[in-house]
Each structure stands twice: as structure tokens, then as C-alpha cells.
Subunit: 177 residues, 2 copies
Amino acid sequence: MSESQIAVALLHHPILNRRGETSTTAITSIDVHDFARSCAFYDVSPVYLVHPADGMHSLIHDMTDYYLNGKGGERNPERKEVLKAIRCVKSLDQIIEAEPYQLWYTSATPPGEMCIEASELKHINGKHLIVFGTGWGLDEENMPNANGWLSPIKGIGKVRHLSVRAALAIYLDRLGI
Amino acid sequence: MSESQIAVALLHHPILNRRGETSTTAITSIDVHDFARSCAFYDVSPVYLVHPADGMHSLIHDMTDYYLNGKGGERNPERKEVLKAIRCVKSLDQIIEAEPYQLWYTSATPPGEMCIEASELKHINGKHLIVFGTGWGLDEENMPNANGWLSPIKGIGKVRHLSVRAALAIYLDRLGI
């Protein structure tokens, strides 16, 4: 029996913009719902939304409150259950100061060293946080050191990366938990 | 070398509503973008959007035209490339009258018989169409007979199904092409 526990973070800062500069993106409602649902499906939690702005936290609170405490949850109890896993935090540091997570970063083009298959995580004891980027990807130079990177999802087609929602779903499936 | 060719359809009619009745759903822009992008990543095409209403086709045309022929494609050439795979059609019958597809249906709870793993498709010669439902799932009683169903994606968590965007991503990954 493995003692591995897995959580997920979606990072909106620090991430890269199209010019490769340190930047911040907005949280989108579809990411919140898809991340919450896919993680609930695979029993992965919590789902951390990382954004430095109070206003963005308020917006997510209003959106989820409709389901967690309002009419939305009466009509759609499953969505209420799913959204309970959402945690808004200001920074990745805030998460790892509170919980001893091992950090696993994701990218369509990770640095070569220290890549492991997602399926290996369940064999590594302890708490794991899989970190997904938005925008043009994680600004790793301004992030805490990772324990490693998950092996990238390789396509054979016309685009260099998937939507972050699709990447999350595939990595969760590959966890094999 | 396999002679298997794979395409995808997202069905908005006939699908089931929450009461199990035959129904129609709206096409959502996020499904169009995520389906187009995930399929492009795995070189799967075309991506058929099945909806009986002319107005819905016009809406999708306006949305994709911004990228295919307008300013959006100048700013985001990758999205232009990706959206070329989108085909709006009125019905599943319209697709299979034009192309000799073998039909593979998907569901979180498929009928027991005739399930195959997604990874098997590449070993079956010919043209394959993987059909995804919206709403409360495919209204199979009012659809053409399927060649079979893809084995369901099994979760261990709190919800009975993934978003259709997540399910698509996982099935494409599992094709192993």
C-alpha cells in the first residue's frame, strides 16, 4: 500500500508571456471547473489556484460560493462536491510553507534532467504537488526548486502543446492510481 | 504499418437530458477550441461538430472565421491551423453517408457488450469515428448502430464522469498513435 498523496496546483504567477517575460494570467472559470472535476474523478486533492491578486480570489470565491452555499449546489450537488477541493492561494511558497509537498513541474518542453513518468509518483512516499502553468508556461527561474518534472506528453501533430485542461486530464490518467 | 485513420465527432443531438429524454445541447466555444487543439496535437481529424440548427452552424462559422480568415489568425497562427479541422454537420447520418466510418461510441457507462480499448483502434484497418456526447450522454436508441464502444475511463473519485474535453484528451492519449 503506497503512502503517496497527490495534489494539483494551477499557477497564474510567475508564468511566462509570449515574449518570455515574467507575467501573470487571469484565472478562467473553465479551468476552475475542469480542474476541480477531473481531480475529483481521480480523487486527487486539493486543487490550488495560485494567483497573487485579492480581486481574483474574490471572483473565484463568488463563482464557487454559488455552488458551495447557494442555489447552484441545490440544482447541481455533484458540482458542489467537486468544488470543495478548490483552494485559492497567493503563491507557491504559501502552499509549501503549510504542507511538506514534493514539487513536480510540468511543461511541454521540460528541462532534460530529472524527468519521471507520472505513473512513478504513486510509488514515492509522501505528499506530491503537480504544478501546471498557464500563459506560455512556468517561469521556473522565479519558482522554488522542483523535485523533478513529469515527462512531457508527446504529440505527433500540428501543435506544440495541449490546453492545460487536456494536459491535466492525461497526467491524472497516467498516474494510474 | 497500420491503415487506420481516426476522426472525432462531438454530438449535440440526439443526446439525453437530465430526465433521460431525447434532447439537443448548444455548442460551446470552449469545446470547439479544446477539441480542435487536442485532436491537432495527436494528428486526429476531422473534428465533426454535430448540430441540427443552422443558427448554431453560423455561430461556429463566425467564431472560427475570425481565426481562419481574419485578424485572429494573424495574431495566433497556430489556432488558425488547428481550427481548419472543424466541420459542422447536421447529423451523424450525414457524416457516414459521405465517408465509410466505423462508429465507436463513448460513455462513462457503456452497454456491456462490444467494448474495446482505445489502443486497439490503430490495429483495425479503415476509417474510424469516435463519437462523444454532450448533456447527459449519447441517445443511442436514436443513433445508427455502433461498431462498438470504447472501454470507459474509470475514476476512483467522487464524480461519475469527466468533462467531455477531459475524456477526449484521455482517449486520444490512450490511442497510442
